[in-house]
């Protein structure tokens, strides 16, 4: 796994089976980090072997999971995320979670990797999709809001990490007043600041999970954050 000698490049794979993978590619091209970022569009296990880190983009989680299985990628992906950093956005966050609510009939495959239970289409149909400014901890210029675009977005229902797993670090929440009415308040006054359903971005170990779409903005701070905070530290160790 570890490079024989220090390298100049970092290779980030983007799972390119279905969805908004090209948008991530464009965003990474504008990131300036200590190392040059090389992008690989991942469609086969051989593509995945070249990567130091992976992004699972937005799209349809059922479609991406099926195509991953047909391409023989499910097992290699599950192995990959045991050792290397993975960032899932929206559908990617669903695939990266350990359990799913509102799955398709007959259930659907997830990779695990981040100990959360997540509900698909938490807000309902497309007419409930929305945009909102977010405060995000740890981003460059973190006093400047990040524009969150939520499209048929999933909702984090529960944090399920055990004592032996890396702790979950919440890096962004939305106001509980924005939660979908269908889910209902967790407690009567609905003011619990630890309500997991307000979490929209979190980290566990080297993995990053966002329920919204940084790749649809023109702001690449999240892409920079993934490289600098999640990927580069794993290459140094």
């Amino acid at each position: 796994m570890q490079p024989a000698c220090p390298r100049q490049d970092v290779t980030v794979g983007i799972l390119a089976l279905q969805g908004a993978f090209a948008e991530h590619q464009v965003m990474f091209q504008k990131v300036s980090a200590k190392r040059k970022v090389v992008i690989v569009l991942v469609r086969t296990p051989e593509d995945l072997d070249k990567c130091d880190a992976l992004v699972i983009p937005g799209g349809e989680s059922t479609t991406i999971a099926l195509l991953a299985r047909l391409a023989g990628l499910l097992e290699p992906l599950a192995q990959f995320l045991k050792t290397k950093p993975v960032w899932g956005t929206c559908a990617g966050a669903i695939l990266l979670s350990s359990a799913v609510e509102n799955a398709k009939k007959g259930g659907q495959e997830v990779l695990g990797g981040v100990s959360v239970k997540i509900a698909r289409n938490g807000w309902g149909s497309q007419v409930e999709s929305f945009e909102v400014p977010l405060e995000v901890e740890g981003l460059r210029e973190s006093n400047r809001a990040f524009h969150g675009i939520f499209i048929r977005a999933p909702v984090v229902m529960d944090l399920t990490q055990s004592l032996t797993e890396p702790p979950i670090q919440v890096i962004s929440r939305i106001s509980s007043s924005l939660l979908p009415a269908s889910i209902g308040p967790l407690d009567e006054d609905d003011t619990d600041p630890r309500d997991p359903r307000t979490i929209v971005a979190l980290r566990q170990g080297k993995h990053l999970l966002t329920t919204f779409h940084p790749e649809l903005t023109k702001d690449n701070r999240f892409h920079e954050y993934f490289i600098v905070e999640c990927v580069l530290p794993t290459l140094l160790s």
């Binding site: 799955a103 497309q126 945009e131």
Partner: protein
Amino acid sequence: MTSPAHTPNGGSPLPPVPHGVGNSSGTPVMAPTRAAHSKDGATTTSLGTFGVKSGLAQMLKGGVIMDVVNAEQARIAEEAGACAVMALERVPADIRATGGVARMSDPKMIKEIVDAVTIPVMAKVRIGHFVEAQILQSIGIDYIDESEVLTPADEEHHINKHAFKVPFVCGCRNLGEALRRISEGAAFIRTKGEAGTGNVVEAVRHTRAVQSEIRKASVMSEEELYAYAKDIQAPFHLLKETARMKRLPVVNFAAGGIATPADAALMMQLGCDGVFVGSGIFKSGDAAKRARAIVQAVTHYNNPKLLADVSEDLGEAMVGLTIDKNLPGGHLAARGW
């Protein structure tokens, strides 16, 4: 790739239903917004912005959207890896065969499909029929196709799509038509092709026309772009944006006549972002197998070996029709402007 970020804020209070063309109340025409204020009054959310409308189309890229006429077909499509389904009463091949006026489907049937699957559900309305669109928006459909496959309700006007928070996809035969639809608020474009024929020739013609016109525009000076905008009857600002980006400013799928994995891969190699398959799946011998093969073909469109594998033993393809003046049901692509 990136879409213009239209984020209308601070709109005036909105009417209960969106008004389409013909509305003379003077209501401002923009995407509805819903503002939610946090305790300090600083946080504002926007629903139904152009950003979330075109953003959903971006999430569908590299995918296959399949026509289905009931919940059972919708489940087959979802299991086969469709990224969305299009709910309609009759697939285009049957609309051609039976004739008569084709309209929006029964909302009850659409709701059954919505309940059966977790992927986005689209449905068709007649060109210009903004009340059918209001109905579909009220039942929470994810995308509306203002489609030439149904019998047009208005031969002069398309729907004012900015007035809705549900996004619209529209068909086109060339760049001018695509940009006119985008200027009316379409957040997603597809080629018209010739639906219900199982013949990809018109989809290829329309895609090649759009691509060739974009290439021409991309090397033009500003003066030439003004003249070209007049020629193709497109709004100048959208043409300029297209020329700069060297692609349509919204996602562009192929549609109308795609029947095999090879057809789907052809449209992807010609530069489309994904495909719609109408009659091609459920009018063929083994729908589930063909659907899955087309899904794989769209992902691996540049891999001929894999295309050969998935094309094997798919059973009978739908019967194709040649496109000439005797085409049963007529030329649907000529509907709309």
